[in-house]
């Protein structure tokens, strides 16, 4: 899977789940934690990543370095994937 595809899928999930599908509300490069993802939303994102990309996300990995921006999440998923297809 290409980086651009991973990014598109995660962005689409974030827009659908946290912005009620309103694409026009999406802002690139903003902090996701606190701005897009609400107080009980991180688990939703983690569940999505685990289900969609067949990876295991440890609680200790849900840190700003991995989850604060879309770019960070994509990079994190790519690191967790066994290999690019």
């Amino acid at each position: 899977m290409q980086t651009i595809d991973i990014e598109r899928e995660i962005r689409s999930f974030l827009i659908d789940n946290f912005l009620f599908g309103r694409t026009e509300e999406w802002r690139d490069h903003v902090s996701l934690l606190g701005n897009v993802i609400d107080s009980t939303g991180a688990i939703e994102l983690v569940t999505f990543l685990q289900d969609r990309f067949a990876i295991t996300v440890e609680d200790t990995e849900v840190v700003p370095e991995n989850f604060d921006t879309l770019e960070n999440v994509v990079a994190y998923v790519e690191r967790k994937l066994p290999s690019k297809v």
Binding site: N17, I37, S39, T40, A42, I43, V63, F67
Partner: protein
């Protein structure tokens, strides 16, 4: 408790009795025992009576012997016996034993200042035929409702908005700014309601209508403790004073010519209230509570324990998810505003149980959390401020994990996410609304669901800025904790808890709630109480717990606080869900009302149908949309 309505013809033509009859007919659920309509020149008053005091001779509308004053009155004046003696001493003669007549003579004696003499929960209108003045007033805490509007030729008022809408001249329109407030604060800021040109008399306010001019005045507000203000009582003395106040507040709230019961939730507040009722009444008390099929909301074991300890005859109504979905439309017909939680529904079922058990009056523990430091939002603010004093600390933010132990999804969140959500910026620290900003910011995200057109109608309206302009002048000199309590007591309590979850749910089945913690003497005591006696470290309602020792079972005093909640959106998504859910959430119905964006609502609905909606925000969004659609169907699209 009753329903009232009335009108004043602004051109001073004669009021139409049939119009009054139409209005009061919509409020029969508030007063099924008797009814009356009285026209006096340009004024008409109407009344639907729930007979509780002076069953024989308390009919309304009531007048003075010379017909100079006419009154229609909803509620109770609990100190009416003392006031009556006082007025008799001044030479007044009484034809009834009712508190209604006490109001009339108190108005004669004290004029508009009479409201400061009343200890009660009430809304009333008095027509002074000599002065050609209509005087409306609402109780201090906002227990009883009072709405009003104006048409081209009339001023109209009523206990509920549906009575105003019974007049064809009153336009039915959703107010976008009222909606903006609901989808920020959960409530509208008085005098605004969610309907255009429909207003509410704010708690602690009176209105005078004379010569076509409306004058509003605030007659009461609590005096709050200031930073550094000294207090000269020991903890023990303060606890005893609180207990004595609550005992007396309970004593006068048992004045009734019909039997009085009590709600018993299994928490400290209602257990104390019930215990105090038992001590005063002396006989075996009837208590009532809600049980949930869903165990995460159920407190039956604590309710049974409290009932056994206090020796009450206890009755429980069981509430299932299907029950909530089934009666939700009827509930919204009574709330008359959108809600973001289904929590009013079980209260609706509970009042039905009370009524079917032959009771008209119940005492409850409402108000203690607001005035004595009980809410988690106060704890949350305290932790955030503590963390802000040392933002680099690794362990201070871990305290965030101690919040909301009953919210499973919250507890599963990684600390990093909670830290970002509850982060504290210098701007936050300087805000008057520090305690409530996370809640309001989360709720305001629901406005993403509004349609572009509806957003356009809201324009650049800033609900938070609007609220800030309403704050007391000396607000900044109050302790932070007190500021948070003020926001809860002033807005959320009357705007939601006492209305959508209180008066409207109880009165739907002709039941009157009475609230010892909302006695104005208790409110004033709480407002002046040092904050360290409310929440000691993170121990909520510290002083109240101390005052309760020996009265409330130790197991209930020591239990983890669990706020009253009910199952939310899951109730509306299962095979047995009522047809209205699908119909009102369909793109066609959403587009028809124009308030929400159809694709956005569809995305939300699909998320629920797929079983992927788990967040508090999604729950609030779904309930908010569905209740708004029901509101429009009930009041706008007729």
């Amino acid at each position: 408790m009753c329903g009232i309505s009335g009108l004043l013809k602004l051109d001073y033509s004669k009021a139409d009795p049939s119009q009054l009859g139409t209005m009061i007919a919509t409020l029969r659920h508030r007063g099924p025992d008797a009814g009356g309509v009285q026209v006096s020149g340009p004024v008409g008053l109407a009344h639907a009576r729930l007979s509780i005091i002076d069953l024989q001779s308390g009919a309304q509308p009531m007048s003075t012997a010379n017909s100079q004053l006419w009154i229609t009155f909803n509620g109770e004046i609990f100190n009416y016996i003392e006031l009556r003696e006082e007025l008799v001493g001044k030479g007044y003669q009484f034809a009834t034993r009712s508190d209604t007549e006490v109001i009339l003579h108190a108005y004669q004696e004290y004029g508009e200042d009479c409201v400061n003499h009343f200890n009660g929960q009430r809304a009333f209108a008095i027509w002074d035929a000599t002065e050609q003045t209509l005087f409306l007033s609402r109780d201090r805490a906002g227990v009883r409702p009072l709405f009003y509007t104006q048409t081209s030729d009339s001023f109209l008022f009523a206990s509920e908005i549906k009575a105003l809408f019974a007049c064809r001249e009153v336009r039915r329109e959703i107010d976008p700014r009222g909606m903006d407030q609901i989808f920020t604060f959960w409530v509208t800021i008085p005098p605004k309601t969610v309907f255009k040109n429909i207003f509410q008399v704010p708690p602690g306010h009176s209105l005078t209508i004379k010569s076509n001019r409306i004058r509003a005045q605030q007659y009461w507000s609590a005096s709050y403790v200031r930073n550094g203000e000294a207090h000269d009582r020991s903890e023990q003395e303060a606890a005893m004073e609180l207990l004595h106040l609550l005992q007396d507040a309970t004593r006068i709230r048992l004045r009734s010519d019909v039997p009085v019961g009590a709600y018993l939730s299994g928490g400290i507040d209602s257990t104390l209230t019930t215990a105090l009722v038992g001590k005063v009444a002396g006989s075996r008390l009837r208590s009532f509570s809600i049980a949930f099929e869903d165990r995460q909301f159920d407190e039956s074991s604590y309710q049974q324990e409290a009932s056994s300890f206090l020796g009450t005859q206890h009755s429980t109504v069981s509430c299932s998810n299907a029950d909530i979905a089934e009666v939700f439309p009827e509930v919204i017909r009574h709330t008359e505003q959108p809600v973001l939680r289904t929590a009013p529904v079980p209260m609706f079922l509970l009042s039905r149980l009370v009524r079917e058990s032959g009771f008209k009056v119940v005492l409850t523990g409402e108000g203690a959390d607001e005035i004595l430091g009980g809410y988690d939002i106060f704890k949350e603010a305290k932790i955030r401020r503590f963390w802000a004093r040392s933002l680099e600390s690794k362990w201070r933010p871990l305290l965030l994990k101690r919040m909301y132990p009953y919210l499973q999804e919250f507890r599963r969140q990684p600390t990093a996410n909670l830290m970002h959500f509850f982060r504290v910026t210098p701007e936050d620290l300087a805000s008057s609304f520090f305690s409530h900003l996370p809640r309001w910011e989360l709720t305001a995200r629901l406005k993403l669901l509004f349609s572009p057109d509806f957003r356009g109608q809201i324009g650049d309206y800033d609900a938070v800025g609007d609220l800030e302009e309403n704050l007391p002048d000396d607000f900044s000199s109050w302790p932070h904790f007190t500021q948070g309590e003020y926001l809860e007591t002033k807005y959320f309590l009357p705007g939601y808890l006492l209305s959508s979850q209180g008066d409207r749910m109880a009165m739907a089945h002709s039941v009157e709630g009475r609230y010892p913690f909302l006695d104005y003497r208790v409110l004033e005591f709480g407002a002046k109480l040092p904050v360290d006696l409310k929440m000691k470290v993170l121990n909520e309602k510290y002083l109240l717990k101390r005052a309760c020792q020996g009265i409330v079972p130790a197991s209930i005093l020591g239990r983890t606080k669990q706020p009253y909640r009910a199952p939310d959106s899951r109730c509306f998504f299962n095979a047995a869900a009522p047809a209205y859910v699908h119909e009102l959430l369909s793109p066609c119905a959403i587009k028809k009302n124009g308030i929400f964006e159809a694709p956005a609502v569809s995305a939300l609905v699909n998320k629920f149908r797929a079983g992927k909606a788990r967040s508090v925000k999604d729950d609030m969004a779904l309930v908010g949309v569905l209740s708004t659609q029901l509101l429009a169907a009930e009041f706008i699209n007729q």
